[in-house]
Symmetry: C2
Subunit: 284 residues, 2 copies
């Protein structure tokens, strides 16, 4: 791997576009080749200085790259691995940015032996997508999870770590299933709870509720505005972990409801105080 690698970033939306901007600012890659099916996105990414050049397909861009970053939604990138296998240069590092790692790492294990696959998940994002939302600071100060496979070389892991750090993140090596269970708790479950809150208020058909919604509702439901297609992919590729946390959450909500319905102030108070103390103590 050269000191200044050539990087191909597939998908120039929020995550891929922001990574390109951050790496260019850090002066880390020799060049960044963007891949997007959209001519408008390719033009915007070139005009914005995110990529040095851009193509429509992996076939055009992958053969020149020391590092291939798959920054498309989880199931799109799973379907792109065949093309990666056909077009990647021997020895290339293949890194993805998907939010669920078990299925991705299992699929990456089937890549040709000469390639160096690593599952990745930068713990950052926002509700608006597309290159127009890309931001060179998106990765700054965030945790960038890396899931090397058993066959992945130490050198490839060092390169992935250097890439994460060049983008401003802290690299954290995790097992895919550990990762998937933890992010189901703190990302996929909260997303579903926010979605359920918005849909419950809609089902209650109370226009005054929307009119009175203020900062509490705004923050609690913010992530429900995320791209639904992206989250459908994440949920469908992390089902067992998400279902387990949904059940724990349902149990907690049922306990809160039972205590309130029974007027059991001691039980209710205990649960509210426990959450308040825990949440107040989190440095987020």
């Amino acid at each position: 791997m050269p000191d200044k690698p050539s990087i191909c970033i597939v998908g120039l939306g929020l995550m891929g576009g922001s990574l390109a901007l951050a790496l260019q600012r850090a002066g880390w890659p020799r060049e960044i080749i963007g891949v997007s099916r959209s001519p408008d996105t390719r033009a915007a990414a070139q005009a914005g200085g995110a990529v040095d050049r851009a193509g429509a397909t992996l076939a055009e861009a992958a053969p020149d790259a020391d590092v291939i970053v798959l920054a498309t939604p989880v199931r799109a990138l799973l379907s792109q691995l065949d093309e990666v296998a056909r077009h990647a240069r021997p020895g290339a590092l293949v890194l993805d940015l998907g939010s669920a790692k078990g299925e991705v790492c299992a699929a990456m294990a089937r890549l040709p032996e000469g390639l160096q696959p690593i599952g990745g998940h930068p713990m950052c994002g926002k509700e608006t997508g597309g290159f127009a939302s890309a931001d060179a600071d998106l990765y700054s100060g965030k945790t960038f999870v890396l899931c090397p496979l058993s066959r992945t070389s130490e050198a490839a892991l060092l390169t992935a770590t250097a890439l994460a750090e060049a983008a401003g993140s802290r690299a954290l090596v995790l097992d895919p299933s550990e990762h998937d269970r933890a992010v189901a708790a703190i990302s996929h479950l909260p997303y579903l709870a926010a979605t359920g809150l918005v849909n419950a208020v809609a089902a209650g058909n109370d226009p005054l509720a929307w009119a009175l919604a203020a900062s509490g509702f705004r923050d609690t439901t913010r992530v429900a505005a995320s791209d639904a297609a992206m989250f459908l992919d994440i949920l469908m590729t992390n089902r067992p972990a998400v279902l387990a946390w949904l059940d724990l959450f349902a149990t907690e909500m049922a306990s809160l409801r039972a205590a309130l319905a029974a007027g059991d102030e001691a039980a209710l108070s205990e649960r509210l105080a426990a959450a308040s103390a825990l949440r107040s103590g989190l440095k987020l």
Copy 2:
């Protein structure tokens, strides 16, 4: 009612302290008399310019006031109405700041006939409490709900409206039960959901989850850090409305779980997309 009324604010925590600071800045009252059992709070409120003077009891402060604002937790203020009845000057406006209005307005209806009761709920707050968190801008640009009783005079409602506007808020007159149903949806339910999320993650006993928690978890659970005793009061005085919304929420969460468990992508996608469109369209 004089043009520049004398105001007694009972409770100098976040809500009462912030109201005092905002009204002083607006130059609206002739004087503000604070009531707090805590000598430290009284001293801090005087030193901070929030109140012109302060006493430990309603008996000391209420007889001089044209307007009495009850800024204590809901059930504390319910228990203070007897003292208000004994010590308030005839014709005084009695306004509270509690988050649930049905029980408060029913109790206020039992105040002596010469008093002018109005239920109030400024739609603002934050997770940290006490006078140390008070902020002259807390009420700025927020909706301040007013629930006059059938016996409340037009003049008293005008004074309460002027007070809300002097604090920087927009007054909105509502029926107590309409108010309670709507805020149960957009404040009390989200608070319980945030509490349930924090407690579910705790129950799952996964230290890595806390380590990976980022902006999504931070915002979705922010309100769970609120003062548990304050919210216990709110929930216990708004039980029917909160229970009804909890049931709607449980139904939504069960539908999301069923679609995910069955791999029914069409059903899941429809619910995620509906929430995303609704939430993206909200101006919050």
